[in-house]
């Protein structure tokens, strides 16, 4: 066979119904042989126009909507929205409410990263074993959420001025019981994957994002930290008393898919540290302040952001002194992290594009809203 096989570019659709797209999301990839020469994302399959719906409902009625944007981290989304309303209306949260919020947000980060890291291992070809280990631990966290709020995924637990209910009696015991096994599972997952030759070949130097691009493209969360930029809103702009807790910001140094995976694993360890500290120093007192049922914040605007598992989750609210927000905007970290998909995939193979997409850890409910 001395003849050179000629190939020409053609368009291939990855998704919208494909396990590697993690939801209803399509990549229109132009491929030349095995090489991706262009990648265009097609989104909007899950668009529910939450920003418009929220303009017709009261501030409290909007909390369940935020569950349904990033359905893998509903607690974080509740928290971001409640912080924005509290900033707008000037409401303070009692210390116990803040500590419960921190515990819930960190448990949610663990649950979300279990899913993110496990699904990423699946995408690289470590078929089912790591994700099952992580899902086993995530299940315990969802049980705690069910115990506390009555729901596993769409928790609807945070309220403006605090949280909805007091934590149950055996909450602390159950949370402490999951910390040890969770540490072991993180170590097991890291031991299985981080030195694994196949995993290294699949993830090292794949989908590299240089730090300049990461900043210029407004990336946040593990995508930004994987590129070596130590930026974490919990440290930079502490909310809910995060300044009291001792934790570190893990960063990568090459900006590839592997670094983002390792950053997620290390963040899980740091979350466990925060949970332990918050449980040790859990203050007494009320879990929330009294807030009028039909809250009418003074006219103005507020932008509050938190470090959600996926990055900088911002809520921009405009009030006209009415009972519902005049404008309700979500800054979705998944969507903005996804906007560098072309830079991450072009030049690599189709298999690398799947790894690149997996390393972003997208949630399509948040992309489309």
């Amino acid at each position: 066979m001395s003849e050179i096989v000629q190939s020409e570019p053609f368009v291939m659709n990855i998704g919208p119904q494909h396990p590697s797209t993690h939801g209803v999301f399509r990549v229109k990839a132009t491929v030349d042989g095995e090489q991706v020469v262009d990648a265009e994302m097609v989104i909007g399959y899950l668009h529910r126009s939450m920003e418009k719906l929220a303009e017709e409902r009261t501030y409290t009625q909007n909390i369940p909507f935020t569950d349904r944007t990033d359905y893998l981290s509903s607690m974080s989304n509740n928290l971001g929205y409640c912080l924005a309303v509290e900033k707008l209306a000037g409401i303070d949260v009692p210390p116990r409410g803040q500590a419960i919020r921190v515990i819930m947000a960190e448990l949610q980060r663990l649950a979300s990263h279990c899913m993110g890291a496990g699904a990423f291992a699946n995408d690289t070809g470590a078929w089912q074993t790591p994700i099952m280990w992580f899902m086993r631990e995530r299940e315990k966290i969802l049980d705690i959420f069910e115990l506390t709020s009555g729901a596993r995924l769409t928790c609807n637990y945070m309220r403006i001025g605090g949280v909805a209910f007091e934590i149950p009696e055996d909450f602390e015991e159950q949370v402490r019981a999951l910390i040890g096994p969770m540490r072991e599972t993180i170590a097991d997952g890291e031991g299985l994957l981080s030195g694994n030759e196949i995993f290294l070949v699949r993830a090292r130097n794949v989908a590299v994002i240089p730090p300049e691009l990461a900043i210029n493209a407004s990336l946040s969360g593990p995508m930004l930290r994987g590129s070596g930029i130590a930026w974490d809103i919990r440290k930079a702009d502490p909310y809910c008393g995060y300044e009291q807790y001792d934790f570190e910001i893990p960063i990568g140094y090459q900006g590839d898919a592997y670094d983002r995976f390792i950053v997620r694993l290390e963040e899980m360890r740091q979350s466990l540290r925060i949970i332990e500290q918050a449980l040790d120093g859990l203050p007494g007192g009320p879990h929330s302040t009294e807030v009028p049922l039909s809250l009418r914040p003074p006219a103005g605007e507020a932008y509050a952001r938190i470090e959600s598992p996926r990055g900088e989750l911002g809520y921009y609210l405009v009030s006209d002194e009415g009972p519902s927000p005049y404008r309700f905007h979500i800054r979705p970290p998944s969507l903005i992290n996804l906007s560098v998909l072309k830079e991450m995939t072009v030049g690599g193979s189709i298999a690398d594009a799947i790894v690149a997409l997996g390393s972003i850890d997208i949630v399509v409910g948040e992309i489309d809203r």
Binding site: E56, S218, R305, G314, P323, S324
Partner: protein
């Protein structure tokens, strides 16, 4: 802690860099003129005192008589954030300059704002509807989209003509 710039501080810094660029000042934000928006925002990014290298958020607001495009500019190195705005009065063909040449992260947020508000961003490399399909009637986040006769609001109440009740209360949630 992050330093949140007030509108006056941002306006003073912007006037120093690009004189005559500020149109109005509010407590939280500085409103720039559209004609030199790109010039002033890129000067704010490159100026060492501001260093707004990270565009945190970009969104539109419909204020009935005008559209606002809101930019939250952030500096990771200096840990500070500021809010800039630009206003456009024209409701038929609203258009503001695109800032994709300054921050690449703006392109997807500008596309979303175009999709939901119908604000054109001049200079955007690939401005098209991303969440809704081509040919979708209207722009849903505008306040006059789906406005009902008789002060009815879509969502909380039934649509006009489908209810036998003469005048349902507009906001029963009070």
């Amino acid at each position: 802690m992050t330093r949140w710039w007030s509108g006056e501080e941002l306006a003073a810094e912007a006037e120093r860099l690009v004189p005559g660029s500020v149109s109005k000042i509010s407590a939280t934000a500085c409103i720039f003129k559209a004609e030199n928006l790109v010039q002033v925002l890129s000067a704010l990014r490159d100026n060492p005192a501001t260093n707004f290298a990270h565009l945190s958020n970009l969104c539109g607001v419909d204020q009935w008589d005008r559209f606002e495009v809101v930019y939250h500019l952030q500096s990771l190195e200096m840990n500070q954030i500021a809010c800039a705005k630009v206003e456009v009065q024209d409701r038929e063909e609203p258009s503001v300059p695109s800032v994709v040449s300054i921050w690449q992260g703006a392109w997807i947020q500008e596309s979303e704002t175009y999709d939901l508000f119908g604000i054109r961003f001049e200079g955007h490399p690939n401005l098209q509807r991303i969440l809704l399909w081509d040919g979708y009637p209207g722009y849903p986040l505008r306040k006059d989209f789906l406005s009902m006769p008789g002060g009815l609001q879509p969502g909380l109440n039934e649509f006009a003509g489908t209810s036998a009740k003469p005048e349902p209360p507009v906001r029963p949630v009070e």
